[in-house]
Symmetry: C3
Subunit: 331 residues, 3 copies
């Protein structure tokens, strides 16, 4: 009593065939900056450049048409999720947005991360994961058959942020080699500072670290730099680095990191970048910030052409477009 065969919806012979992943990072996960050597970084930059031209000219394209991204955020992050959503949409792909951490329902029913990931990979071609636990992106990637992109795993890594920081330096200054990069603020807890520093080790750069004593770069990372005989130096004062810096990378001092609030109050306003400070800086240099800022950079600096932090946001979209296209075998 099976029904008569219906006329076919699709002609199987003329259906476009999805190319199998071929080039280097196709099908791969993006979990840590340690994956990225200089040749691959160069590839990403070229693709991100192309994305920039494409978006400026046409707004969007069809490169990832028929592809679906699952945006799985166990903790909300408007900036990062919006960036990935826009990146996917401008490439013609679609998004399943699961960006309301707290209300994520299967999890509240007790589902494990591996099960959630193995469910979503049935619907999606790539998973972007933000999760509060260090190592969670690795766990997800171990279980998923589709590429997993780490969009922040707690105090662990946030590799696409570091990649976009690096791309911004290259785009703004023409090259990375030979530059002096000064990082300012909470260098102890700052995930982005650590990841960007590791990426910069691929290049010939000088590094300056500005922080209070209690928020200095972790010893392990500093020892790495010393072992590699890098031109590196720590200081308490922006004044010591501002005149020579090609890049001033400012970070937020995050209240939630401090057990002792008196300590927070003591350091929180140490490093506000003002127009006065900018007067001591070179004419060709950039101020960067991973955002959001709450007071580290005075609003009056925004009009300064060297203020690159909003341009940095856009470059982030280009880098994520490049990464999505690459892991999906399209770039």
């Amino acid at each position: 009593m099976e029904p008569m065969e219906l006329p076919r919806l699709f002609d199987r012979d003329t259906l476009p065939t999805r190319p199998r992943p071929g080039t280097a990072p196709a099908g791969q996960d993006i979990l840590t900056v340690a994956q990225f050597g200089r040749p691959l970084l160069g590839h990403i930059f070229q693709r991100a450049d192309e994305m920039k031209v494409m978006v400026e000219r046409a707004g969007g394209c069809d490169l990832l048409r028929g592809h679906v991204l699952a945006c799985l955020f166990y903790e909300p992050s408007t900036r990062t999720s919006a960036s990935f959503i826009a990146a996917m949409e401008r490439l013609g792909g679609s998004v399943i947005p699961i960006t309301q951490g707290v209300q994520f329902s299967s999890v509240s029913k007790g589902e494990s991360l591996p099960d959630t990931v193995r469910t979503l990979e049935q619907y999606a071609d790539v998973i972007v994961l933000r999760h509060p636990d260090v190592g969670s992106a690795k766990v997800a990637a171990d279980y998923a058959a589709v590429p997993v992109i780490n969009a922040g795993d707690g105090a662990g890594e946030h590799p696409t942020q570091a990649l976009l920081d690096l791309f911004t330096i290259r785009e703004e200054l023409g090259a990375i080699d030979g530059r002096r990069v000064a990082m300012v603020g909470d260098l102890r807890h700052g995930r982005t500072v650590h990841s960007l520093t590791r990426l910069l080790l691929q290049y010939d750069v000088s590094l300056r670290f500005v922080s209070p004593d209690t928020l200095r770069l972790p010893m392990a990372l500093m020892n790495e730099l010393i072992d590699q005989k890098r031109d590196v130096r720590e200081t308490h004062d922006v004044a010591d680095v501002i005149a020579d810096a090609d890049v001033l990378y400012v970070t937020r001092i995050q209240k939630e990191r401090f057990a002792d609030l008196a300590h927070y109050e003591e350091v929180k306003d140490l490093y506000e970048i003002t127009p006065e400070i900018m007067r001591q800086a070179k004419e060709k240099m950039v101020v960067m910030h991973p955002l959001p800022r709450v007071g580290e950079i005075h609003y009056a600096v925004d009009a300064d052409p060297r203020a690159a932090y909003f341009r940095q946001v856009k470059k982030g979209m280009y880098v994520r477009m490049a990464l999505l296209a690459m892991v999906l075998g399209k770039a």
Copy 2:
């Protein structure tokens, strides 16, 4: 050690070029009904009409393909956000939905509205903003390089609602000039009543205002009407206006506006529109409501062909499609 050049993803010479905004409101913000003179209103109505035909025939089109809308709602409003999302999608564009007010994460980290807007404009071509504070849409527009559409700024304005109300009157009754419009309910706090009234001043209409003494139209607005020698009149009773009204515009009496709940209880059920009341109305007239309703219009009225409030919702989508296309330089 930069890698060999990769084959290009896009041919720069054949990439479609995005037309530069040209016609009148391209690139402009939509902040207040004060922006809209009669010629521009006529343009919007023609475009909205075209959207209606297009949606009825084809469902959607590619006019805004490659364009991205950031839907930024600091307080949730399902109806309005769904309307803008559908409008953008039916035009072939994409949406970044940030519609869960409370959990908006960058804000909880202390980010200012100007910074949030300057971030989102890196991803999106247009921003629709709902915010609880009067004037916030203006602030956002002052900072944003892309068009900002005000989708309600607290007790301020909600211009696209007023535009869709006006379009509905025109579509339902063929013309606006010569009509008698009666507004009913909380005329003191009703943002939509104030904005629609101001738009109607562009046309030759009679106005009737039905409210309890405590919820009358604000004096400033009433004085404007009187100064312009408009045919205007206030009353306590729907019975005084129902026989002559071409439009009965009913609004909800919002509990949250009352400091004194006894006062609310006294007025909340004053103006329920029932089939009995509708029997006194003209054969060709319409009942409108910005929705949601909670009891101002009896369910038994829904089957009356003069009940236009759900058709009004659809016309709202057409108007928003027209506005999105216009500010993006496509109409």
Copy 3:
């Protein structure tokens, strides 16, 4: 003072015309498994098969381009909403995601389900509804002019889950007739068990029910099976059914169903499926689960080729693609 006519955006004569719904279930609601006789089930399976081929080859298509789905979830369900979102997107359609139950704003303002539905149908071509109240999908369908798909109405039905379960059995085992299906767990409250059982009555199958005494299949359903003289049998022990089962359909024992937590603790781990148990099963059979699981199936079973529960998730997307295309008159 109306403005000069603008040049037209769309050429009305060449606009693609949306085909009117023609074939059987076009324009219909999907509310209960009782709607589905065997011929219609066969149609759905054929369409779902086609969707599978299309997705595997091309990722997506344009079948539902210009169509919009409103995904209206009064209670969150990541798995189900993600499945429908991906289904719509892979068919080229768009989605209005309203998936954050608690914050659904119009509802908090006191709007009724009929009004919400009649609002959303102005924006969307089809509504998928998850609601905590039994019968709510029927109410929504009674008011909506567009098709409503029930994605779970409390303790009522979840017909698309049952359809995907049935499709999975057919895909995994080649046919449904002649199979022995064993259901395990909470058979008293399990909505999916009841719906799937009713669908299986269309086929020539043997049924085995494994549960503790307190969670047995409801009497009414059991009596139906007995009246139809089905090959049916109840037991307390998986061991009694494992050797002969073609399908082992495992369900979660849901803590929230138990007034007496001591009772829950007693039964919750009764039926963990382990590799040891699987050793007694046939070589060609499948283990299914509606997911999420919390401990009913040991992780070590996942690698077993007979573990079909993640494949079942993907087949769910294909079935929902078929259903969306069908109710929209495209299949």
